[in-house]
């Protein structure tokens, strides 16, 4: 199960879901917003499920749900009132290609789609699992999770005193860590196993991901990233790089990946796809 396999599966699932929607401009803009991406979160769901012997097609609903949720957050984060970005994944952002009203509504509809996917019968035959996936997804994405992290990030940009390492770690645990954590634990939920057993992997992975994002914002190639870079330095924001230095940030991310991999020890070779994913998180160039 490679990242490319997962990306192809989740693209097909999202396409199928949107084919069931009315043929409108809104649906076209939703399709555009979910049409690209690394699909890391979907892959975590699918690789985690596969490791625990969940049939692949039973992971598709949850995998598509987390990508719809992630895509909604990007569309809203890119809005002029938020990060004001024109480029995402190498393409014009939704509010640039359409307009702000459409971008707000596309984000809103993609969040609904995430819950439609995760609570639908195709996601799992056991309604207890579906309701639990919906409940945990709502908590991870809402006002105590991802949305709070984004609100804190915007507040930090306007603050006179840059955040310290503890504050940034907490903020990012919510902004990006919560959804990555949900994705890493979804496979266990689908398998009917205790998701907490993957908690250490999920937490370390989420933080390593964000540190790498901060590193790529400094050393990355904008064309390859498909989005504007050097934003944090321009804004004078504290980041893992500004606080730890470039080498310090790299070492920290590597240590976290080592810890994530160590946390998979009880699963033996079955966890190789999750190990590869952890290595990918810091080795990626975009």
């Amino acid at each position: 199960m490679s990242l490319d396999d997962s990306a192809a599966r989740v693209a097909a699932t999202l396409e199928d879901a949107l084919d069931g929607f009315p043929d409108t401009d809104l649906t076209a803009a939703m399709r555009y917003a979910v049409s690209r991406g690394k699909r890391l979160r979907a892959h975590l769901v699918i690789a985690g499920a596969t490791m625990l012997d969940v049939p692949k097609d039973r992971a598709d609903g949850a995998a598509a749900a987390i990508e719809a949720m992630h895509a909604y957050s990007l569309v809203h984060d890119d809005l002029p009132a938020m990060d004001d970005d024109d480029l995402r994944r190498g393409q014009p952002t939704v509010h640039v290609k359409w307009d702000e009203a459409t971008a707000i509504l596309v984000g809103d509809a993609l969040q609904s789609l995430a819950f439609e996917l995760v609570s639908g019968p195709v996601t799992h035959p056991d309604p207890t699992v579906r309701a639990e996936l919906a409940l945990t997804l709502a908590r991870a994405s809402g006002g105590a999770g991802m949305v709070l992290g984004q609100a804190e990030d915007i507040a930090a940009e306007m603050a006179l005193i840059p955040l310290n390492l503890d504050q940034i770690t907490g903020l990012q645990a919510r902004k990006t860590g919560a959804l990555i954590g949900w994705a890493a634990m979804a496979g266990a939920r689908l398998a009917g196993e205790d998701p907490a057993r993957l908690g250490r992997y999920a937490t370390a992975l989420g933080l390593a991901f964000q540190i790498t994002d901060d590193i790529l914002d400094v050393i990355g190639d904008a064309t390859r990233a498909g989005k504007r870079l050097r934003k944090d330095a321009e804004a004078g924001k504290a980041t893992f790089v500004s606080l730890l230095g470039l080498d310090g940030a790299k070492s920290r991310a590597e240590a976290l990946v080592a810890d994530a991999i160590a946390a998979l020890e009880p699963y033996g070779p079955r966890a190789d796809a999750l190990r590869d994913t952890a290595r990918f998180v810091i080795a990626r160039d975009a």
Copy 2:
């Protein structure tokens, strides 16, 4: 079970839910956004559930969920890029009292809260019911339901040719009818009965509600309504009043309420609260 009783119950449920959130500006703005309103949708849930002998406290989760969903839609609809309204329920809108970024995030977090409430164990002991409520709520609110209706409404405002009666009826069935319909049928879902039996009531009620909104936009008192009125005429938009005339619109709303009440016939006197609600929908002055 009066509207006031339901309003008090749902306010308490929402307050309790938000008390569980971190003490942040975002939570304060979420609390503000859900702190007022007629609570018609919550009352439909509670009155429908009570009619079918569901204990009141078992209707609270679904009732609070639909009000959180409704509140999110108002916060986003009021944004400058959408309807650009400064006043809602007699108070400054969220983007006026805070800012646009906060308003976008408050709406996003309230949508998540709706799904957190509806899929949580307190909503119903049977996970099949919780997953079904989440799934139908996602469909009612998303890109084939409420959000599509709002997108169509914005498009209609920019169109050169006003919509005709069929088009407006379809648009409003999505924009306001979908959530009202979900609310009217939620009690049956909580009771484990066939929600389709309340479908005719729900559809007629939703349309009567919107026609009355169009009437109040023309003859209503802005202070009492707590929001800007006469918007549709200013924008040259087709409404039920512009298409049917004021008297024609009133007759149509009354006929729909009569139909909604007739559809409750099989339930006998147990349905009196739902009958009162239907009468309230056209008798309200705000």
